[in-house]
């Protein structure tokens, strides 16, 4: 994981400077309104192109934008036609999605704003293009864990991050661990050149490795590292409809992860050490329902050693441990809610007693509620976790120290990476790492059961939104952006409906084609004769309209019928409300000579036939199925567009309030087992750059040998190189 850096303060300063500089140059450059002044022919003083993604420190994107050769040049006269051509160039070149990118849909909004001024007595104009390309990557995550990354590191989470190598310095503090410095390295494999969201090549054994990661850190008290390689299964980016329908919805993506982990840390006066090699397989289902619920599951096998030393260490703490794991759960993210519920079980063999010496079971349920009124982040998270270890061989096989439960202000995950979190230890921020360690088993021996609840509330008090205020305040701008996914959903639903197999197989629709289409054909033949007979008598003023009716509508109805009969087109080509048949009926009414005109009767009969076809189609699930599929396809895009335009800030600061309650057992007789803490802190986020959290939690029912509370801090530099 990319976390916590002591170098962050310096970088923070640089980022602030860069942002301030960018804003400052705008302020100096823009001087006056163009309202009422002629822009055409004014000398172009400056051209500026921006996108929301540009502010994510995506240097590669800036490079692409700068390389676009617009048909507008500085120090040349402004021409409106050139500006139109510039918009066309902007959307069709470097940033356009490749045909294989995600779902077969994209949308974009471009605005041009002008600002007029005088320079050395000469009228000049500054041009400011704003470009928002809405692309739909196939693999946008829909998990609770992805929420934080989407709002704080959108470039990486949306797959727009350009590089394959990441170095993330980290620093963290916990009283028992002291100041821990470390780093994370992530190396991702090359793609097939279709863009960052493309599936990696899989040509050889080495080619199957999608990424290599390393995390490590050390202090005077703790040492830890993990290294892993991954191999992810990604679905085809261009599945046909049939392939989509027959593909396994229970595996939208899956992946193997293999590696080693090691940790050495204090527990009271003891020390414990654990080294493990693991092979883990995880899978996510396709999203279920409108909310985008994902079912996830997996299994793992790992083996290694545990060791312990200190006054209460036992011989059984030094063991070789072989473990089988299984885990499953569900998660979803909507605009305001995130939810995750997971269950994990691990059965371990230590060489003592039965085949399996003990089993560990974990339950983890969490919910997040978030709002962003006027871009101020408001978050309320609740997390419930519980665990139990049971031995299978009585007193013959003790549970090694490193396998037992300890509470403290460091989150521990049952799984090997943070894409899915099942807490394996109680989180208690009022005590330092492993600070909750005493049960009936003895001081520093931890527990065989735990229960913990954690509540965290954050309220943003300062922020600078990603979307510039001029655009946010531009009437209709955000409305246009927000409606982009809705339009895409409509288009997608129409496209799905037009190719639905029910048009070829549904008995009701087949019956309509067999019986109603010939009736329409016959009525149209009569109407056409009647229509043609009137051509000579049409007044000159109406001749053009009559001719347009003939060419655009009446002439196309027989072609529509042919295409439907030969199954080239669906029957809705004839029956939709603005079809050539519907418009032909309108033409008949327009050129009728009164209520008794035979054209009126023909128009009414044709409308009735058309409505009968619509009723036959509506009685099937064609439109429901198409809309459901389109909404399912777009649920993640809609949410992500909303996050980007309504929640994401360049910089934000939120005070945080937290409450924890945790217990490990079995409890010491006569001694309170429940610990609870109340604390506060602050969280600073600089988009795509830094996440910093500092806080202090008071130990509300302090016991002998426990401190009054605990300070905790974490700092995560998201990308030390910038983008």
């Amino acid at each position: 994981m990319r976390k916590r850096s002591v170098w962050a303060a310096l970088l923070v300063g640089c980022r602030f400077a860069a942002i301030a500089s960018a804003q400052g140059s705008d302020a100096v450059r823009l001087e006056g309104t163009c309202k009422g002044q002629g822009v055409e022919g004014r000398e172009i003083r400056d051209i500026h192109i921006s996108t929301p993604f540009d502010l994510l420190h995506l240097k590669f994107l800036r490079g692409k934008i700068d390389s676009i050769k617009l048909p507008l040049q500085r120090r040349t006269p402004y021409r409106d036609a050139d500006a139109d051509a510039a918009i066309e160039t902007l959307e069709s070149l470097a940033l356009a999605p490749p045909p294989s990118f995600g779902l077969p849909i994209s949308g974009s909004v471009i605005t041009l704003r002008t600002s007029c001024a005088e320079e050395n007595g000469k009228p000049v104009v500054d041009l400011d293009f704003y470009y928002f390309p809405a692309q739909v990557p196939a693999l946008w995550p829909s998990t609770r864990e992805s929420k934080t990354e989407d709002t704080t590191d959108a470039a990486h989470s949306s797959g727009a991050a350009p590089r394959r190598f990441w170095l993330t310095p980290t620093v963290a503090y916990s009283e028992s661990a002291r100041l821990v410095a470390g780093a994370s390295v992530l190396v991702e494999s090359q793609t097939n050149g279709d863009g960052p969201q493309s599936a990696p090549r899989k040509e050889s054994v080495l080619g199957k490795i999608d990424s290599f990661s390393f995390d490590g850190g050390a202090s005077s008290q703790v040492r830890f590292f993990s290294a892993a390689i991954t191999d992810d299964y990604l679905p085809s980016r261009q599945p046909t409809r049939e392939e989509s329908e027959s593909s396994r919805p229970w595996i939208r993506k899956a992946g193997f992860r293999a590696g080693v982990t090691y940790r050495d840390e204090p527990v009271d006066d003891n020390r414990m050490e654990e080294g493990t090699g693991f092979l883990e397989w995880k899978a996510d289902s396709s999203t279920v329902g409108k909310v985008g619920m994902v079912i996830r599951y997996g299994t793992a096998v790992d083996g290694g050693f545990t060791r312990a030393s200190g006054p209460t260490a036992t011989a059984a703490d030094d063991s070789r441990v072989f473990t089988l794991k299984g885990f499953a759960g569900t998660t979803f993210r909507s605009r305001h809610h995130t939810f995750s519920a997971s269950y994990g079980i691990a059965t371990s063999h230590t060489g003592a007693g039965a085949v399996f010496s003990y089993s560990k079971q974990l339950i983890d349920v969490s919910h997040g509620l978030s709002f962003s009124p006027n871009y101020f982040p408001m978050e309320f998270d609740t997390h419930l976790a519980a665990g139990r270890i049971e031995t299978h061989c009585g007193t013959d096989c003790a549970i090694p120290l490193a396998e037992r439960f300890f509470g403290g202000n460091v989150e521990r995950n049952f799984l090997s990476d943070q894409s899915w979190t099942i807490r394996s230890q109680p989180l208690l921020r009022s005590l330092p790492l492993n600070g909750l360690d005493t049960t009936a088993g003895g001081a520093g021996r931890g527990g065989d059961r735990f229960l913990a609840i954690n509540v965290t509330a954050g309220f943003g008090v300062a922020r600078k939104p990603l979307i510039p205020s001029e655009l946010r305040n531009e009437p209709g701008f955000l409305q246009r952006i927000d409606n982009t996914p809705k339009t895409v959903t409509e288009l997608l639903a129409s496209a799905y409906a037009a190719t639905d197999k029910a048009f070829l197989t549904d008995p009701g629709i087949q019956m309509a084609v067999a019986s109603l289409v010939p009736m329409i054909e016959a009525e149209m033949a009569v109407a056409q004769k009647e229509w043609d007979g009137r051509a000579a008598g049409i007044p000159a003023a109406n001749e053009e309209t009559f001719s347009i009716c003939s060419d655009d509508q009446l002439a196309q109805v027989p072609l529509d019928i042919d295409d439907i009969k030969t199954q080239k087109k669906p029957i809705t080509l004839l029956s939709n409300n603005s079809s050539h048949l519907a418009e032909s009926a309108k033409c008949f009414r327009q050129f009728s000579r009164g209520p008794d005109d035979p054209l009126i009767a023909l128009a009414n009969r044709l409308d009735d036939l058309r409505k009968s076809i619509n009723a036959a189609v509506a009685s099937t699930d064609v439109f429901v199925r198409a809309r459901t599929q389109a909404e399912k396809d777009m649920v993640l895009a809609d949410r992500t567009v909303h996050t980007l335009f309504h929640e994401t800030n360049l910089i934000s600061f939120s005070p945080v309030v937290m409450f924890d309650a945790a217990v490990i057992g079995p409890s010491v007789p006569g001694s309170p087992s429940l610990r609870y803490g109340l604390g506060g802190g602050g969280r600073v986020t600089i988009l795509s750059t830094l996440r910093l959290t500092v806080g202090y939690s008071a130990n509300m029912n302090r016991q002998p040998n426990e401190g009054p509370g605990a300070l905790f801090a974490s700092m995560e530099v998201l990308d030390i190189w910038g983008r």
């Binding site: 705008d26 302020a27 823009l30 001087e31 006056g32 309104t33 163009c34 009422g36 002044q37 822009v39 139109d84 918009i87 959307e91 490749p98 045909p99 294989s100 077969p104 849909i105 949308g107 974009s108 909004v109 471009i110 605005t111 704003r113 600002s115 400011d128 261009q238 046909t240 001029e470 531009e474 209709g476 409305q479 246009r480 409606n483 982009t484 809705k486 339009t487 895409v488 409509e490 288009l491 129409s494 496209a495 799905y496 409906a497 037009a498 190719t499 060419d551 655009d552 196309q556 529509d560 087109k569 809705t572 080509l573 939709n576 409300n577 603005s578 079809s579 050539h580 519907a582 418009e583």
Partner: protein, 127 residues
């Protein structure tokens, strides 16, 4: 220096949809232009591109049309640009306009028919 107000002179909204068989690409765009005197005009762009196989990377443009919206349709253009396409408009584009475009490309119909069909996307909102 305080920022002066910028004038929004162009809004361009564009949608590209690939048909489920992935062989046809339909593009619909709506442009709003504001002249110096405040006059607003709307332009609709439609294009149809195809490829023989979904393994082909590039699409070949079959036909495109760019038409100015009728003055009477300006409120519908404003509504469509702000709220997006509704179902009747989406059906009109993917069925009627796309089919007309194919027929014009095949020489069965005149180009003016396609341009009028594209223009009819705005009133189709209330169809």
């Amino acid at each position: 220096m305080a920022k002066a107000q910028k004038e929004l002179v162009k809004i361009h909204v564009k949608f590209t949809v690939l048909t489920p068989d992935q062989l046809k690409q339909i593009v619909f765009a709506l442009d709003k232009n504001t002249a110096d005197d405040g006059t607003v005009s709307w332009t609709i762009t439609f294009s149809l591109a195809t490829r023989a196989s979904k393994s082909d990377k590039e699409f070949t443009k079959v036909i495109d049309a760019e038409v100015a919206a009728d003055l009477k349709d300006a409120p519908l253009a404003e509504e469509t640009s702000a709220k997006g396409l509704n179902k009747p408009q989406s059906d009109h584009l993917t069925l009627n306009v796309a089919t007309t475009a194919e027929r014009v490309a095949d020489g069965k119909l005149k180009r003016a028919t396609l341009e009028r069909s594209v223009k009819a996307t705005l009133p189709a909102r209330n169809a």
